[in-house]
């Protein structure tokens, strides 16, 4: 292999390793934002969706996504992928699949049956995610052909996870005590420092997520990679600051957990357009994401009364869709603000909507079936005492 090819492979492997580490970040954010009595259950869910994703994507998911296209809609599956030349891609895509699955975990934390979660996580990784992913990233997918741009997956990964999270949160219902007398109650997370540290890890991993999606670093890709690093970082920073000021103004104090969600929202929003917008565009996208995420979380909680302990639906679903649309506005090549007219924006909307429909439809079918069969939710006593003691027979925190 020549040096340039090695460079590309190495870059993909390194970025894959960074994305891998995001699993730890998600675990910390989710545990930090929820109560201590469910910590062990969250650990298990997060480790297991990584494991299931690793095995499932290798066993079949990867080829469903990247196999030869059957009618622009699905890849031709082969079992137990074993192509020596393509292992770096398998790895990179595996950790992406695990990310999509893990997003759901946060929204349904604190009340979901562990065994049910495992089954859903498996279906998510080998069916739901790779099929819509095929439409955009395989090269011959119908959305690609339409000109849809989702560079690193605001929609393909985050919105898919976010919409599945939405369906999960609705079908499973809110945690006991979350809504009483038609009022939303606060259930503070047990350790915001874990949450904050998790955000640092996610931010770190996101450099791999976005810049790795260039899938190359040699030649002309080099400057693209560093451009992506900058847009990613600017959007995250702008969104975190914005979310902080929004809460400062609305609630009177700079809110920590919303600021953390803000940083994440900035990262999710720029994911689609990180290679297509300018630094200034990224900065503005971040600001928009920072405003939207706060109001979206508010709205989903207080108006829709859907209980999402970590804000996953807003951060990944809503902001993921938003970020994808904004590519149509800010793309320096073809964006509305750069004289490209409404075409790209229209294409983006088609992509966002069709993938949302897919994710919502399939996860509804799967989760509804699970609800009617083995059940989605633990019993009242189990929930009150905490999932750790009932599902795993352990207290995570001891002397």
């Amino acid at each position: 292999m020549d040096a340039n090819a090695v460079l590309d492979l190495m870059w993909i492997v390194i970025c894959g390793i960074l994305v891998f580490f995001m699993q730890a970040g998600f675990t910390l954010v989710e545990t930090g934002f929820t109560r201590s009595k469910n910590t062990g259950n969250i650990i298990m869910k997060n480790i297991m969706d990584l494991c299931i994703g690793s095995l499932g994507f290798w066993a079949i998911g990867y080829t469903i996504m990247y196999g030869e296209s059957i009618g622009t809609f699905i890849g031709k599956p082969t079992l137990f992928f074993d192509n020596k030349e393509d292992m770096h891609n398998l790895f990179f895509q595996t950790v992406f699949a695990a990310t999509a699955a893990t997003i759901v975990s946060g929204a349904v934390a604190g009340r979901t049956k562990f065994s049910t979660y495992l089954i859903f996580s498996f279906i998510m990784t080998v069916v739901i995610y790779p099929i819509s992913g095929h439409w955009v990233w395989q090269g011959d997918g119908w959305l690609t052909k339409l000109g849809f741009i989702d560079f690193a997956g605001s929609t393909v990964v985050h919105s898919v996870g976010g919409w599945a999270a939405l369906i999960g949160a609705i079908l499973i219902g809110p945690r006991i005590g979350k809504y009483t007398n038609g009022k939303s109650n606060a259930i503070p997370g047990h350790n915001l420092l874990l949450g904050a540290f998790g955000i640092f890890i996610l931010w770190l991993g996101w450099f791999g997520f976005n810049a790795g999606s260039e899938l190359a670093i040699s030649g002309d890709s080099a400057n693209n990679v560093s451009g992506i690093i900058i847009t990613t970082n600017l959007s995250a920073a702008a969104a975190a600051i914005t979310a902080m000021f929004v809460t400062w103004i609305s609630y009177g104090k700079p809110d920590i957990s919303m600021t953390l969600n803000g940083a994440l929202a900035g990262l999710v929003a720029i994911t689609a357009g990180c290679a297509a917008v300018s630094p200034l565009g990224a900065f503005i996208i971040g600001i928009i994401a920072g405003v939207v995420v706060v109001f979206s979380i508010d709205f989903i909680d207080k108006k829709l009364k859907i209980d999402d302990p970590v804000g996953a639906i807003s951060v990944h679903g809503v902001v993921g869709a938003l970020g994808t649309l904004l590519v149509g506005v800010f793309a320096t090549d073809g964006g509305l603000l750069y004289g490209g007219g409404f075409h790209q924006l229209g294409v983006q909307a088609v992509g966002v909507i069709s993938i949302a429909a897919w994710a919502i439809g399939t996860s509804f079918i799967v989760l509804f079936t699970l609800k009617k069969t083995i059940g989605l939710r633990v019993s009242k006593v189990e929930e009150e005492d905490g999932l750790d003691i009932h599902e795993h027979d352990i207290n995570v925190y001891n002397k």
Binding site: Y251, G252, D255, I297, D298, D301
Partner: protein
């Protein structure tokens, strides 16, 4: 012998301890509790405003011999005072017997 249970603001603890020290009450036990009472604190968490009367406090348990009772109460009331709602309470009850484990001493000897 009397047992004095004082429920005070955590932020006042150092002053209270110093005041007890002044009157040579150097023996007691304390732990943190949540108090429910008049005081209410309004908060906003992720946009949800809520108000709670559950407030972190420190609980002191002090067993004193009868002659010490009044000055201890006095010292407590003075040092734990801020004047705003939520300063806390003091409860006094009877103790029948005290033992010092190390020596087996009984009664007020055990308290010194």
């Amino acid at each position: 012998m009397k047992k004095i249970e004082a429920i005070i603001r955590k932020s006042k603890f150092d002053e209270v301890k110093e005041a007890l020290h002044q009157i040579e009450v150097n023996f007691f036990s304390y732990w943190d509790v949540t108090g429910v009472g008049h005081e209410k604190q309004g908060h906003v968490y992720r946009g949800v405003s809520y108000s709670t009367s559950d407030i972190q406090r420190r609980f002191l348990s002090i067993v004193v011999s009868d002659p010490f009772l009044d000055i201890t109460i006095d010292a407590l009331i003075k040092s734990a005072y801020t004047g705003t709602i939520g300063d806390g309470k003091i409860f006094v009850s009877d103790v029948i017997e005290s033992y010092r484990i190390r020596t087996g001493e009984k009664g007020s000897d055990a308290l010194k």
